[in-house]
């Protein structure tokens, strides 16, 4: 087999470049000393046509934020699935993991790749009727989520533990070497604060699953499941420029067919443009150099793996009916008090439709306040952002989550508007609060309340403490009209365990559906 590595080299270079850009953007998805972020990883979602389509369908409107996705789709109309082979960071990582996962080359049923079309259809129909699914299958969402919630914090933890050990137990000469290195890492790649995430393990397992699939087949996820790849493949069906076998007299030795990492070459050595990701392996490896990239000489091969009519109708019906099943649960009408959405979040219905579950808001959240929801917003709300004040609070002057949201599920708010956006309200638990329950002075909550007029104030009263002495204490109370629910009070309450001042989503300022119990009133 001849080897002409040059085209492959170019492809690898491009993959590395895009991966590097992706990782740099990911690291930059953090506070950079200014209120406005410049360049964050949301770029990758804004060029994602699947996310764009789903978000637009869900809100039945055109979202300007995702306009760049149109350009990617356009390029695929001309070139086919070039993005999957040359740019997609998920694909690059899967390719790179090849040396680790080994090559089992299990023969999977040839009809399996149809699943991706079913998924694509389900996602789009579901989006239109109120079943948000795109975030669970979009490769970028899976990747960014896994990185944000598990891999990046865990890697940071590992590195920090190492340098903590050398700092606290190492000899002085060792610290002369390690401390500058640690400082360098801190300034470049390490997270500023060690973050924690409620769903670190599920997010990691989901990402890991993609690599496990790689054991069975090369690019197994890309060829069988990836709905984004399916969409790009559909766009590239009639691409004028593509890879094709230009020799009618090919004796079909079949080498290319086993070589192809997406199974795009059939036994007759013909290339299927819906699957071909232009990795150029066939160009380099065909002993007779039969494959070439160029303006299509031949008509594309007929659609071989479209959905059957039965599957099409079945999938569509599922996408239409399932949302109504989801709609008849009580919390759709009575919002969950524990579900505090980030400031600028759209009304719940639209929020669920637009949110990609990518976790970028959680990556950028400066106080580690946003966490992936498990079932607090229903099963369809898995991985959506939710503020847990006891873990982290919403920083008063910070507007980063709205800046990185790729689809505008969290609106970009100016600081002044954000400071007037109520995401919930605090209330004092007088059974635990020290000045009430024990006659002991405290009012940490009042001190830290960031609203200029203080949403938490206090009354100075004489009470008896546990020793029976009459003491003067300041007892805090909340002014509802001023409280915006940032949660710093709950976060910093010095009591161990449960806070004595708690925030619930009650009173949040985003529009809600009617929540009156009779369900007749309009919002």
């Amino acid at each position: 087999m001849k080897n002409h590595p040059r085209p492959i080299l170019w492809r690898r270079l491009s993959q590395l470049l895009f991966l590097a850009v992706f990782l740099v953007l990911f690291l930059r998805t953090d506070y950079q000393g200014q209120d406005q972020l410049s360049g964050a990883v949301n770029l990758i979602f804004r060029i994602d046509p699947l996310v764009a389509l789903a978000a637009c369908l869900a809100t039945r409107s055109f979202i300007l934020l995702v306009l760049p996705a149109g350009f990617l789709l356009l390029s695929c109309l001309l070139l086919g699935r070039w993005f999957c082979g040359w740019a997609c960071p998920m694909g690059t990582l899967l390719d790179a993991s090849r040396t680790l996962t080994g090559s089992k080359a299990v023969t999977l049923p040839p009809t399996l790749p149809r699943i991706r079309y079913a998924l694509l259809l389900l996602i789009l129909v579901g989006a239109l009727f109120g079943l948000p699914l795109v975030g669970y299958f979009d490769p970028f969402a899976i990747l960014v989520r896994g990185l944000t919630m598990a891999i990046y914090p865990a890697a940071g933890m590992a590195i920090e533990s190492l340098f903590t050990f050398t700092y606290q137990h190492g000899p002085a000469w060792l610290n002369l070497l390690t401390e500058p290195l640690y400082q360098l890492l801190r300034d470049t790649v390490l997270p500023f604060e060690q973050k924690l995430f409620t769903l670190a393990l599920p997010a990691m397992l989901m990402l890991l699953a993609l690599f496990v699939l790689e054991i069975f087949q090369r690019r197994c996820f890309c060829r069988t499941l990836c709905p984004l790849g399916a969409l790009l493949g559909l766009a590239g069906r009639f691409a004028p420029w593509r890879i094709a076998n230009r020799q009618p007299a090919c004796h079909a030795c079949g080498q290319c067919s086993t070589l192809c990492r997406t199974g795009a070459i059939d036994l007759q050595s013909q290339v299927n443009t819906e699957r071909c990701i232009l990795c150029l392996d066939c160009l380099s490896r065909c002993p007779n150099e039969h494959f070439a990239f160029g303006h299509g000489a031949k008509p594309p091969v007929p659609l071989a793996e479209g959905l059957s009519r039965r599957a099409f109708v079945g999938t569509t019906l599922t996408g239409i009916t399932l949302p109504f099943m989801l709609a008849v649960r009580p919390f759709k009408r009575h919002p969950q008090p524990g579900l505090i959405r980030p400031p600028g979040a759209l009304p719940e219905e639209q929020f669920l439709g637009r949110c990609v579950r990518c976790g970028e808001c959680m990556q950028v959240c400066i106080g580690n306040a946003l966490h992936p929801a498990l079932t607090e917003a229903g099963v369809e709300g898995l991985f959506t952002p939710r503020l847990i004040p006891r873990i982290g609070y919403c920083e008063y002057q910070c507007t980063l989550c709205g800046q990185v949201c790729p689809t505008g599920a969290i609106q970009r708010l100016p600081a002044a508007a954000k400071q007037l956006t109520t995401i919930g309200r605090a209330f004092v638990d007088r059974d635990r609060c020290l000045p009430y329950a024990k006659g002991v002075p405290c009012i940490v909550c009042e001190e830290l309340c960031p609203t200029p007029q203080k949403a938490i104030r206090f009354r100075e009263v004489s009470v008896q403490n546990e020793l029976g002495e009459t003491v003067r204490v300041k007892q805090p109370y909340v002014i509802d009209e001023l409280c915006i629910g940032c949660g710093i009070c709950e976060n910093k309450c010095p009591l161990p365990g449960r806070s004595a001042i708690l925030v619930t989503s009650a009173g949040e300022s985003r529009l809600q559906k009617a929540i009156a119990k009779d369900s007749y009133s309009k919002p």
Binding site: T164, P441, C442, I443, P494
Partner: protein, 311 residues
């Protein structure tokens, strides 16, 4: 010295000293007016001055209490501990003015400091506080490798026993502060509903690790106990802008009073006591000052404090 001589001397000095302290003939008038009393009766000096050129003002005021060379010996490791507690711009008076911090760093270098470390453990997110208080940009602009304004490094908290502590027996304290040869405390003067006022003693909380909120239960005693092991060499109180209401973070310019005043003293309690007067309050209203004075950490009696104003 024989026994007789010793007893005579002891009797003489204790008599004269107690007379000096409780001089029956000196006026007992109280109030904010500096009292004319013989110099040897003073237990502390506080320099203070007013002016709009803050760097110059800092230099003048520190010169009044002896100048930086009194506090910083050549080769000393200096810690400057401003208040960077909140994510507020300097004009909101929640944090120490960056020019004050920067001038002190310059003065420490001029006095021969081998290194100057500036830090605080903020209540809000550290990066936002360091940037928006203007302190990090001001120190970066100095571009001097001896001066560093670093974020708190969690690894550097050392569990420290406090032998003289009455309620505080041990706590995690920042290593840089403990190891400093010269510890310059630079609080901003502001209202604080738990402590009454947040001044020098309260500013000590920025070197603490752990759950600092627990301190509020016995704030006064905790702060005094802390001051037994971490006594500032020099306290410079920034009252250039004073937050009068809704402290300690404010957020509204209406609550801020421009005062253009700076105080300095080697006595942390005296510095706090004099700064209290700027708010029109009396030092014995402020629990932290009273408790620290009762522990013998400094002087709060105004007639024992020599107040020197910038001419």
């Amino acid at each position: 010295m024989d026994r007789r001589r010793f007893l005579q001397d002891a009797a003489f000095w204790s008599l004269s000293w107690s007379l000096a302290l409780h001089w029956p003939f000196s006026s007992t008038m109280s109030g904010s007016v500096a009292q004319a009393a013989p110099g040897n009766l003073f237990l502390a000096q506080v320099g203070m001055g007013k002016g709009q050129d803050y760097p110059q003002l800092v230099r003048q005021v520190v010169a009044l209490v002896g100048g930086m060379t009194c506090f910083v010996k050549p080769g000393a490791r200096v810690v400057i501990k401003p208040n960077i507690g909140f994510d507020r711009p300097p004009e909101m008076a929640a944090t120490t003015h960056p020019l004050v911090v920067r001038t002190l760093a310059e003065m420490a270098l001029e006095a021969g400091a081998s290194q100057v470390r500036i830090f605080d453990r903020p209540c809000n997110e550290a990066r936002r506080c360091y940037h928006n208080s203007g302190i990090l940009p001001a120190i970066k602009a100095m571009d001097n490798s001896k001066v560093r304004c670093d974020y708190i490094d969690r690894r550097k908290f050392v569990t420290t026993t406090i032998p003289q502590g009455r309620v505080l027996k041990s706590w995690d304290i920042y290593r840089d502060a403990l190891e400093a040869d010269c510890y310059i405390n630079v609080p901003v003067a502001k209202q604080h509903s738990r402590a009454g006022l947040s001044l020098g003693l309260k500013n000590g909380m920025g070197v603490l690790g752990g759950n600092r909120g627990q301190w509020h239960r016995q704030l006064e005693q905790n702060l005094a106990d802390l001051a037994t092991i971490l006594r500032p060499t020099l306290t410079v109180i920034d009252a250039t802008r004073m937050l009068l209401r809704n402290g300690p973070q404010g957020g509204n310019l209406r609550d801020v009073q421009i005062n253009d005043t700076i105080l300095a003293s080697s006595d942390p309690v005296a510095a706090d006591a004099c700064a209290t007067l700027l708010f029109g309050r009396s030092p014995d209203e402020i629990g932290t000052t009273v408790t620290a004075a009762s522990m013998g950490l400094g002087t709060m009696q105004l007639n024992r404090i020599k107040r020197i104003a910038v001419p």
